[in-house]
Structures are given as structure tokens and as C-alpha cells.
Symmetry: C2
């Protein structure tokens, strides 16, 4: 159909978009602190209801409810699912915010506040895109489902059981994921996958109490145990040496490698932002992009043992611990990698080291050749009038695999954010222009999928 | 001379010993907190003056004064120097003390309080041993000097400059060091040396801010840098692999090895106290003792990077640091070892790692064959009526080298403490019996040196 009326509706209702977003931003919903979760879920549910969606709050013991909404098209059998989250990162440090973190303050063409870009702006944008159809043509071009969870920022611990329990609600033909926006050049960016992640902790123990380091010839030092164990896990050329670690790594397809060539990487900007002369291992250009998207990693997140205050203390610590995460790529499985880690340590003589598995998510990707990818990319190009940057996958992680791997639908991430959005940081913001364009973009996807 | 009158005087004045010790214990003197240092120095000075010593407080900029005392014998040209310290370790955790840490409370044959065994009991004991001679024979058998410093527990940072400035005051024929006592079998223990120590910190830096671990393929991880660097410094067979580290290590003499054979090591008790099934590398018996006394070590004292709270955080830390100490044996020099460490890191490709040197002390030993060793051992056996355990050296460290290496005098450590003294821990104590016997022991040394 001709989208002009829909676009005009969106333009004319820019103030409603901003007000609805401000209302959501003013409701704190920090999942890490269980702050305002139920209230925010109910606000999202109301917005969906007011637009015409049938809604449910899907509860799960100890979890924040998942807001579910659906609206049937009169003519289409196709279903588009929007995955979003109403929870936000903690706003701290508060003193670095120019405007109150929960204000939704408009200033010089931007809306400021925790959650504006990640992810409340997208929630409003997607609801308003639906509304624009309903108010102009009295129908929506495809069936639309909303899944808005409240625990994305803490690793989505309850999403899988909710999806299992309410399995029939989640079926869809295509899913739009929660994040995306435009890059520094104003080109829309869309993402076809996420890495997986496995978080672990290794713990070593020595004597039952801290002792004087004069005893070093007799008392085992748990910190040295971890040093030696870690050294067997990754060498200084960044190769992970856990036996079988790379076994199931799927090599990128030729279409993915082609996209990689076209993908911009703002090397200078990034190096400046991180204060680096060069990237790890001197990586640059195509190699840097390939490593970033397609290589699994093993990162030390934290290490603690003994005395860490000023100057020195001749102590021999009783215990030491290290936290690590592995970023995984298709088709590595977090549980398998954990087992390989445990046997690696055992095989290398470190069975005294305790291994604890924390959260994990699986890697996932939608093939570049899936028709939905072209629908989204073309929709973006119509709205932004610039070529879309299609990332064959992303270096980040999230529960996308629950949709892609379990439901089998294509999943593409795209949204209304922008390159200076300061997501997870003070002064998070969304440009009004991006908010409006992003809403038209979502409407176009709905139309084109039909 | 016949020591009976002196011993009797000591026995008859047991209450004075206890009262004088209580007075010193009641005066907190925690060098780590600069708490009551001047006051305690003046109390020690008064006790020396009241006994008949000429005294001086030797100041040094930013340091706690060294209490100096001397008393000439009418007949002897020989000089015995007592090295002690009036500062104590912090008493924390206070809630684990049965009696107030600064009470000097007497209970069931013991005196409780911070400093009772380490080292105020020895100060009082040595002053009272001098008094016993003066009050019974009107003279002391040898010239006696006291050097009581106020910074032993923080690494004696100002003792060397004080000794340099007041060089002429420190000459002596033999020095009795600050620590010693009886073991679990009631045998007196004396020590002929100390290991040296070199404390360092290694620091690695990555990006200028903590970043998301999704960036791991591009951003260097300072924690991994330290892991790999440390792994080149010591292997899992406890061999220190810094080039030239063992170059100047003096092998133990046949007399020292002989003493080692006779030296008891309470393996079962120690393992139980430390909660260990076995010692490091399965060391036991002669080998364990030899390693403990004659091997240099490299100990990780602390390591800190990134997120160390509950569960997991996918952070890539901007910096990492590790604190290490090296225990050194004659004739290793701390400064040389530090240089070797720096070149080792450079040579192994870790010149990005910053190296910071904190305190250091040199190793030192008095030869087993020095006549003063036999004087002290025999004096102990007369008083305790048990064979002395002569440790050819000790696994600990201290400024003994300033006396032994710079002044050239024999230095033997012996004192009035005991096996359950809880030095540096809550409920530090001294047995009254050990206090009295230790005082007789000191008097006997004075007599026999003459």
C-alpha cells in the first residue's frame, strides 16, 4: 500500500510519541534493583490496550512479568513479533546526568533519560507504528505480537520458562529484535545475530586462613594455581587452548563475509574513545571486523585474591577467584563449553580448582539469505534514504536464540536509536528525528512483510 | 660468676616485671596508624633511665624515634646490644579478643595484650635482666646498649638512616635480636638469620575505561597480560624463572645442614593449623625444613582487576594489578633482583607492564660457628634445662642485616615468648613463667659474654 498516510499520521503525532515515551521513562524500572517493575509492566500493558491490543501479563515465580500483546490483521495470515524489554540499566552515576535520569526531558531535539534508547523508545515506536495503521486504514497489515520482558538487562533468567509455559503465544513468521538505529553517517544498521555467552567463576583454595608469606615454601598459594590454570586456557596470541573449544565453530558464509567487507568500522573513533594506539594483536580493517563478529573469546572479567590496598603486605592468601566470560559463536553450546573447560582443568592437573557456571545464552544467527532480511533492509532504505548496514551478526549477546533457535523464525534487530545514544551510560538519549523515522521504519516493515 | 643471686632477684621481682609490661601494653603504639608512638617511646626511655641507662631519643624526619640506651660495665670492654621495637601490630579484629587488647590483663598464668610477646615483653625482660645485676652486684657484666625502634611492624623504613646518622652509637660485639621463645616441647629456640624480602607491584593497563566484554576481540585485556607475565616468572614446580634469579644463592654450610637435621618441624600440628593434607609439592621432613629456611620464594600477595562482586558481569577491565613478594636468601640483593625482574619482563615481551618496588630488606645470617652462637645456646640450656633448638636462619624477614651486614657483629635472635603466643593475632599473650625464665636467659647471656 501507499504509506504516505501512515507516515503523515506519525509526523502529526510526534508529540504523542514523545509524551508516551516520557511517561514510560518517568517510571523507573531497574531490574537489577527490582525497582518499579510491576508498575512499568502495567504501563506498557495499558499502552498496548489503548492502541487495541489484547494483552496478558505472563508471570513467572521470582521473575518480572512478561507483557504480551497481540492484534490480528483482518486480511493477513502473517505474524510479526516485536521483542522488547521494559527494564533498564541502573542510572548510576547520577551526578553525571545533565537532566534527571528519569525525567524524559526534551532538549535540543533529543529526549534524555534512562531507557530512552534502550529500550523504551522502541516499545513506544512499535506501538505507535501499529496505531498509525489502525487510525488511518482501520487495520494493520500483518498480525502483530508484542513480547516485552522485564529482565533483559539482567540476562533474561525467566524468559525461557515463560516461553515454554505459554508456548502457543509466541509463534510468528518473523521477529524484530529490540535494538538498532543509525550510525555516525546516518545509515540505518540492522543485525542478524548475537554471540552466545558463558559466564564462569574459578576458585582455588589454599590454607584455611591467610598466612604470613614466610610460609611460602610449605603452603600452597591459590593465586598461583589460578595463574597457571588460566595460562593453559588462552595463550598470548589469543588462542583458546581448551581442548575442543573450536570444534563446532561455524565458519562465516560467503554472503556474511561479503557483508563484512561493506561493513564500516570506525577504527579511529573507537581507538580514540578507548585510548588505544592499536587494537588487540594489531588487528585492523577486514581482520578486525571478522574477529569482532565471528571469533569466540575468553575474557577475564575480574580477579581477586589477598591484599589489594596501598603499598605491600606479605600475606599468602587462603583463596583466589577469577571471573571469566566466553563469547560463543554458532554452533558452540554454552553447556558443552563448560564441560570442556572442566575436563580441560582436570586433564591439566587442576582438578583442585572449583568451577562455577553462572548465566549463559546461546549464539544465534539468521542467514543473510533469509527473505525477511531483505524486507527489513529495503524498508530501512526507503525511510532513511541511505543504504542499510547489515551486520551478519553482532558481538553482543541476548536471548535472541530463544526465538531463532527454538521457534525457527527469522530474527532481525533494528530500531530507532543512534550513534550517540549513550546506552548504559549517563545522559542516555534518543533523537526526536530518529524516534519518528524509526517509527516509520517499523510501519514499513509491517507493510512489506504483508 | 654465680648467677644465683641474680636469678633470685628476678624471681622476687616477678610482680615488677608484670607491672612494667602492663604499663607498656596499656600504651597503644600501633605504627601502622601512628597511634601513641611518641608516648610509648618516652615510656621505654623512662624505664631505661630509671634502671640507670643513659638514654637518647634518636629522631628521623617522618619517623618514630628510636630509643637508645647505654650503660657501661665497670670491668668489661665487651658490648652486648639488644635490638627491640616498641611498636605493635594493629589489634584488629577487636571482637575476637578475650580481654581488651591494651589491658595487660593477667589470667591463668598469662599476660594478655597486643605487644606482650611481640615485643614489649622482651623490652621489659632485658631491662630487668640489667637491673637484676645492678641491684645485686652493683654492676653489669658487659656494656649494654638498647636500640628500641618504633617501626619494625611497618618494615623499619627509618632505621637505616638513623643508624647512619648516629653511627658511633651502634658499635657492639654481639647483638641479641628481638624474637624467640620456647617451642611446644618447652625447648628454647634461637635463630641465626633472616631471609630478605622484596615487595613489588606489577600493573597492566588496557583501554582508558572499563568496556563491555563484547569488545574482547579488539581491546587488550590487562588481566590476561598479567597472567601471561606471571606465568613466565614461576612455573608450577615452584621454580622461579626470572633469568639469574638463583645466581647468588649461597648454599647452606654443612653445619647449617646438620642443624637442620636436628631441627623439629611440627608437621602434623602445622598441617592441622593450616587445614592442609600435605605441604606444597608434598614436601616433608628434611626437604620441607631445607626449603623453608634456605629457598627463596615468589609469592602472590594480592591480585585485583575488574568486577569481583556476586555472580557475573561481562566487563573487560581497564587495568589489573598484582602484588608480589620475593623472600631472598644470602647473597641475593633486593635491588639486583628487582632489576632482574624488570629485564625479565622486558625480555619476554612485557615491557608494557609497569613495575613498582616497595619495601625491601636484605637477607642475613650469622655463621653457626660464631662463638656467640654457642654462648647463647649454652645460656639457654642452663636456664631452660633443655637442649636449645638452633635455627641456622628463619623464614621471616627484618632489619637484622643492618646490624649483621653493616656493623659486622654476630646477631642471634632469642626471647621470652612461647609456642602459643598468638603474635600478630587476637589474644596475643606471654606466659609469666616464660617471661621470668626469659629474663634469666638474658641475664645469663650478659654474664657469659663477659
Amino acid at each position: 500500500m501507499d504509506m504516505k498516510a501512515v507516515y503523515r499520521y506519525i509526523d502529526q503525532h510526534a508529540q504523542d510519541l514523545i509524551q508516551d515515551l516520557a511517561e514510560l521513562v518517568k517510571q523507573p524500572s531497574v531490574s537489577a534493583k527490582r525497582e518499579g517493575m510491576q508498575e512499568c509492566a502495567e504501563k506498557v500493558e495499558s499502552m498496548l490496550q489503548e492502541t487495541g491490543f489484547s494483552t496478558r501479563l505472563l508471570p513467572e515465580k521470582d521473575g518480572n512479568p512478561v507483557v504480551y500483546g497481540e492484534l490480528k490483521s483482518k486480511h493477513s495470515k502473517k505474524t510479526l513479533l516485536f521483542y522488547d524489554h521494559y527494564d533498564v540499566q541502573p542510572p548510576e552515576p547520577l551526578e553525571e546526568w545533565r537532566f534527571d535520569a528519569f525525567s524524559g526531558k526534551v532538549h535540543e531535539g533529543r529526549i534524555y533519560g534512562r531507557g530512552t534508547s534502550d529500550n523504551k523508545g522502541n516499545i513506544v515506536s512499535r506501538i505507535k507504528a501499529s496505531e498509525a495503521f489502525l487510525k488511518t486504514i482501520g487495520d494493520i497489515p500483518v498480525n502483530v505480537k508484542f513480547v516485552v520482558e522485564g529482565e533483559e538487562e539482567i540476562g533474561s533468567p525467566h524468559l525461557k520458562p515463560v516461553m515454554k509455559q505459554y508456548n502457543e503465544l509466541f509463534s510468528n513468521d518473523a521477529t524484530i529484535w529490540e535494538f538498532g538505529g543509525t550510525n555516525y553517517e546516518g545509515r540505518p544498521e540492522i543485525y542478524l545475530g548475537l554471540k552466545g555467552v558463558l559466564s564462569v567463576e574459578l576458585r582455588a583454595k589454599g590454607a584455611i586462613r591467610d598466612t604470613h608469606s614466610a610460609n611460602a615454601p610449605l603452603i600452597p598459594n591459590p593465586a598461583w594455581r589460578l595463574i597457571w590454570a588460566l595460562n593453559t586456557m588462552k595463550n598470548d596470541e589469543e588462542q583458546i587452548m581448551i581442548e575442543g573449544f573450536y570444534d563446532n565453530v561455524q565458519q562465516p558464509s560467503k554472503e556474511e563475509l561479503q557483508l563484512l567487507k561493506e561493513m564500516p568500522l570506525e577504527e579511529k573513533k573507537l581507538k580514540k574513545a578507548y585510548g588505544l594506539k592499536e587494537f588487540l594483536q594489531g588487528r585492523t580493517g577486514y581482520e578486525a571486523k571478522k574477529e569482532l563478529l565471528f571469533s569466540p573469546t575468553c575474557t577475564i572479567n575480574g580477579f581477586l585474591t589477598g591484599y589489594t590496598g596501598p603499598r605491600s603486605k606479605t600475606v599468602l592468601p587462603k583463596e583466589a577467584m577469577v571471573k571469566l566470560d566466553f563469547r560463543l559463536v554458532p554452533n558452540q553450546k554454552p553447556d558443552e563449553i563448560f564441560e570442556k573447560l572442566v575436563s580441560h582443568l582436570k586433564g591439566r592437573g587442576f582438578s583442585d580448582i572449583e568451577t562455577v557456571q553462572y548465566g549463559s545464552t546461546e549464539p544465534t544467527k539468521t542467514p543473510v539469505t533469509d527473505p525477511f532480511v531483505e524486507i527489513v533492509a529495503k524498508a530501512a532504505e526507503k525511510v532513511y534514504e541511505k543504504r542499510a548496514v547489515v551486520y551478519p551478526t553482532s558481538a553482543g549477546s541476548g536471548p535472541m536464540h530463544l526465538f531463532r533457535n527454538l521457534l525457527g523464525c527469522p530474527v532481525v534487530s533494528a530500531g530507532c536509536s543512534h550513534a550517540d545514544a549513550k546506552v548504559h551510560a549517563p545522559n542516555e538519549n534518543l533523537t526526536i528525528d530518529g524516534f519518528i523515522k524509526g517509527t516509520k521504519f517499523m510501519a514499513t516493515i509491517m507493510n512489506d512483510l504483508a
